[in-house]
Amino acid sequence: MTRSLVDIAYVRAGDKGDSVSVGVLAKSPEYYAQVIASVTPKTVAALYGDWVQGKIEVFPMPNIDGCLVLMHDALGGSATNTLRFDQTAKSLGTAILRLPAIAP
């Protein structure tokens, strides 16, 4: 059975202006390489579609076996004027866990 990130990672998401940040943490160090292989600007862009209008950056954080996904122009404005119900993108992060876990 194909595994997805929900099996091997935790997330914490939040907003910063119009950007959405999602920290993705391997549940165990042995999954770190899979997390890095699975979470790329390309896979993240395909996942969120037109909800992300700007650049997508993925910063590896080997010190905590994770990475930080930064999506620009991704909140439909900022928390203070977006039309989204989830004004601070708290729930948007767990969508990352839908990505298939790819072997490095």
């Binding site: 939040g14 969120y48 579609g49």
Partner: protein, 458 residues
């Protein structure tokens, strides 16, 4: 200027992660935390604009009202424990907030308490002077220079100050510190620098304080709140807020009170390290730049996590200035539909609402429809179900308008579906139009901004 006392460590607690947070964990920390400092973050990005509106109606207001009641109740246990209280609850009126607090303390018979007031962040009246000095107020993210476009709509303008003012207040003998807009982490960095005698020429030490401040600043955010493993967190309704001990060598431990709910473990701390940040290699604050790819985070006992190895760079020459301006209105509505064919009912209701908007001549700059239970939270990332056999589906509509009257049409159209909508439609209370604030982040040279510190006594 550094503190002459050679302290080997400082104990800090977080008493609030936002305006609206729980009071009981803060009281427990004041009573039993054995803390040097208990620090409270009351301000979010939007808060300054909201408080500025309050102050515009009444110049004696504009601070966070909860701060006054809380600190009045905490002052006695904090004093008994030798704990100094620090908060940014002064909002846009730190002096008025401190005066209200002094009065509240006097009413409880607490006299002679020295309250430090840190201000200088509010530059609403200085924007033109900045421009005269050659500061373009370029939008940090979009690079747009057109500040004139929003000039007439500006509601608030606050510089994110660093720790300097807090340190100065503590050196002046403050037993309570009330600030305006300082960075959330400065509430922790200032006390740590003061107590440990650290200076801004020690970027790795400052990076330690930034990292610890960032981990602590959302209170329960690192003790089980918001956790991916929330189902495994015990008694979260009685959660303990975090305690940090920072040592003179730059290492730190994160913990909480024994017996309190929640957990402190490697994942609660790691998850918070990555919360609401940009490039983790350069976490900018006015006090220094921390590299969040350097800390080593490891469990060191039950509900104790050790954080070591922090590295950073010297503080930047520019400070962040956040300008809030009025940006029209949002009208919204929420309708719920039952089985059978709940999804189809919701789709037909959307079609009907669009027809009503047209009939009512709604003028809007953006319209958003989402299906609650299907795609409201994950948007395009959510796969839609192949069959329509769902127990219930909701429709949420949100519309951006220039005026309140236009936003009101959204409420009216949604209410009209009470009878002209699908059978079985359920409505909650109609949602009122709300005014919105947009944010214009920019940078100003540090030397154009100066903090102020004064003391008042209860």
């Amino acid at each position: 200027m550094p503190n002459t006392l050679k302290n080997t460590s400082v104990r800090l607690g977080c008493g609030a992660g936002f305006w609206g947070d729980a009071f009981d964990p803060a009281l427990e920390l004041a009573e039993r935390g054995n803390l040097d400092f208990l620090c409270f973050d009351f301000l979010a990005e939007l808060t300054m604009s909201l408080l500025q509106r309050v102050r515009a109606k009444d110049p004696g207001q504009g601070y966070v009202p909860d701060m006054v009641n809380w600190f009045a109740d905490l002052a006695a246990p904090a004093k008994a424990s030798g704990t100094t209280l620090v908060c940014n609850g002064g909002g846009v009126s730190p002096r008025a907030g401190a005066e209200a607090l002094a009065k509240a303390l006097q009413a409880k018979g607490i006299a002679g308490r020295k309250i430090g007031v840190v201000a200088g962040d509010d530059v609403l009246g200085r924007l033109e002077a900045f421009r005269d000095a050659g500061v373009k107020l370029t939008h940090m993210r979009t690079g747009e220079d057109g500040f004139d476009r929003i000039k007439s709509k500006v509601v608030s303008a606050n510089v994110y100050l660093g720790s300097d003012g807090i340190i100065e207040a503590l050196e002046g003998g403050s037993e309570i510190v009330v600030t305006g807009r300082v960075t959330d982490s400065a509430l922790f960095i200032g006390p740590a620098m003061h107590r440990l005698g650290w200076g801004f020429d020690q970027p790795d030490r400052i990076a330690s304080a930034i990292t610890v401040g960032h981990i602590l600043e959302c209170a329960a955010g690192c003790t089980g709140g918001m956790s991916s493993r929330f189902d495994q967190m015990p008694r979260m309704g009685e959660v303990g807020f975090p305690i940090a001990e920072i040592f003179n060598d730059g290492t730190a431990t994160i913990s909480k009170l024994p017996g309190s709910g929640g957990h402190v473990d490697q994942f609660t701390v790691k998850e918070h390290l990555v919360y609401e940040i940009g490039d983790p290699r350069s976490y900018f604050t006015p006090d220094g730049v921390a590299d969040f790819t350097t800390p080593h985070i490891a469990e060191a006992g039950a509900d104790v996590v050790r954080v070591t190895g922090m590295r950073g760079k010297a503080r930047p020459d520019s400070l962040k200035l956040l300008i809030g301006y009025s940006d029209g209105w949002i009208g919204e509505g929420l309708l719920m539909f039952p089985w059978p064919n709940a999804h189809a009912r919701a789709r037909k209701a959307e079609e009907t609402l669009r027809e009503r908007f047209k009939r009512l001549g709604l003028s809007s700059s953006a319209i958003s429809f989402n299906y609650i239970g299907l795609n409201m939270l994950h948007g395009p990332a959510a796969p839609m179900p192949s069959s329509d056999n769902l127990n219930e589906v909701g429709l949420r509509v949100a519309v951006k308008t220039a005026s309140r009257d236009e936003a009101e049409k959204v409420r009216r159209a949604c209410s009209q579906l009470w009878i002209m909508g699908p059978g079985g439609t359920s409505f909650g209370a109609p949602m009122k139009p709300r005014p919105t604030i947009a944010l214009w982040p920019t940078l100003v040279p540090r030397d154009l901004v100066s903090h102020s510190v004064e003391h008042i006594t209860s």
